[in-house]
């Protein structure tokens, strides 16, 4: 098994969420949910991160930011979109400044529905993402082999 699934470090970006999902992501780090059990650390730095948690939808200003973070994450990496806003724009879908869900901009690997997404659901989402990480790592290895 690739070690990457044992030590997925996350970076979290609040695109234009209402903070609801945002603080639930943070809550996952805290004693009640403690995702460090899975070796997860919130790095806050794209260059160290393996899992990109995005909450909130894409808007005019954060478009380059999201892309930038994604680009600066070394492979293999996965993107987890959290909450209705990040999935589709949610309740703000019709706002003039919201362009929609995160998958409009970067490929999303796991979608966590909810408004706000429950911490348990976020944990599920990250755990699911690990499987994808492993696959991506294998693919990378193969590519390097060729």
């Amino acid at each position: 098994m690739a070690y990457i699934t044992k030590s997925p470090w996350i970076i979290h970006y609040d695109a234009s969420s209402c903070n609801g999902c945002d603080i639930e992501v943070l809550a996952c780090l805290t004693p009640l949910y403690d995702i460090e059990r899975f070796g997860i650390i919130n790095t806050g730095n794209p260059k160290h991160a393996d899992v990109f948690l995005v909450t909130g939808g894409v808007n005019e200003q954060n478009r380059p930011v999201i892309k930038n973070i994604y680009r600066q994450m070394p492979k293999p990496n996965v993107v987890v979109a959290i909450g209705a806003c990040a999935l589709s724009g949610g309740v703000f879908r019709e706002c003039y400044n919201i362009a929609g869900g995160v998958d409009k901009l970067i490929p999303v690997d796991v979608y966590v529905p909810g408004c706000s997404a429950k911490p348990e659901a976020i944990i599920d989402g990250v755990v699911k993402a690990l499987g994808i990480l492993e696959k991506k790592r294998e693919a990378m290895k193969k590519e390097a082999g060729n």
């Binding site: 209705a84 724009g89 796991v110 529905p113 408004c115 997404a117 348990e120």
Partner: protein, 124 residues
């Protein structure tokens, strides 16, 4: 300044003594209350396709088609606000306290198709 106080020590010792407060999810079941809003369910049998739920949905997540007898919800849009449940005249919608599983691809739409209308209704 000057003196160094370790005011946190008592709390730390307590934490050590009382053990972690962690809910060991997923080994333990998730925390759920009766009132928790997890996702919207429909008892399609009772639905009359009046569309009130759709009209009252702030996220435009519901699509009702009287002709096809379908009731469709876009799970990616739904904000689980309960508005549709309150609006439904037939009380056929309900909010379950089980949250939805994450998925690998979107959009996630649940379509319910109602039963063939009963003949007597047709007659009217």
């Amino acid at each position: 300044m000057g003196k160094i106080t370790f005011t946190m020590s008592k709390r730390i010792l307590k934490s050590l003594a009382s053990g972690p407060a962690t809910l060991r999810y997923p080994h333990e079941p998730a925390k759920r209350y009766e009132a928790s809003r997890g996702h919207i369910e429909i008892n399609i049998d009772d639905c009359i396709y009046c569309g009130l739920c759709s009209k009252n949905c702030p996220a435009d997540a519901i699509e009702v088609s009287k002709d096809d007898r379908t009731w469709e919800i876009d799970r990616f849009r739904c904000i689980i606000c309960n508005s549709c449940v309150e609006a439904c005249p037939k009380d056929c919608l309900s909010t379950s306290n089980v949250y939805l599983e994450p998925v690998f691809s979107g959009p996630l739409k649940d379509r319910s198709v109602g039963p063939e209308p009963e003949p007597e209704v047709k007659e009217e």
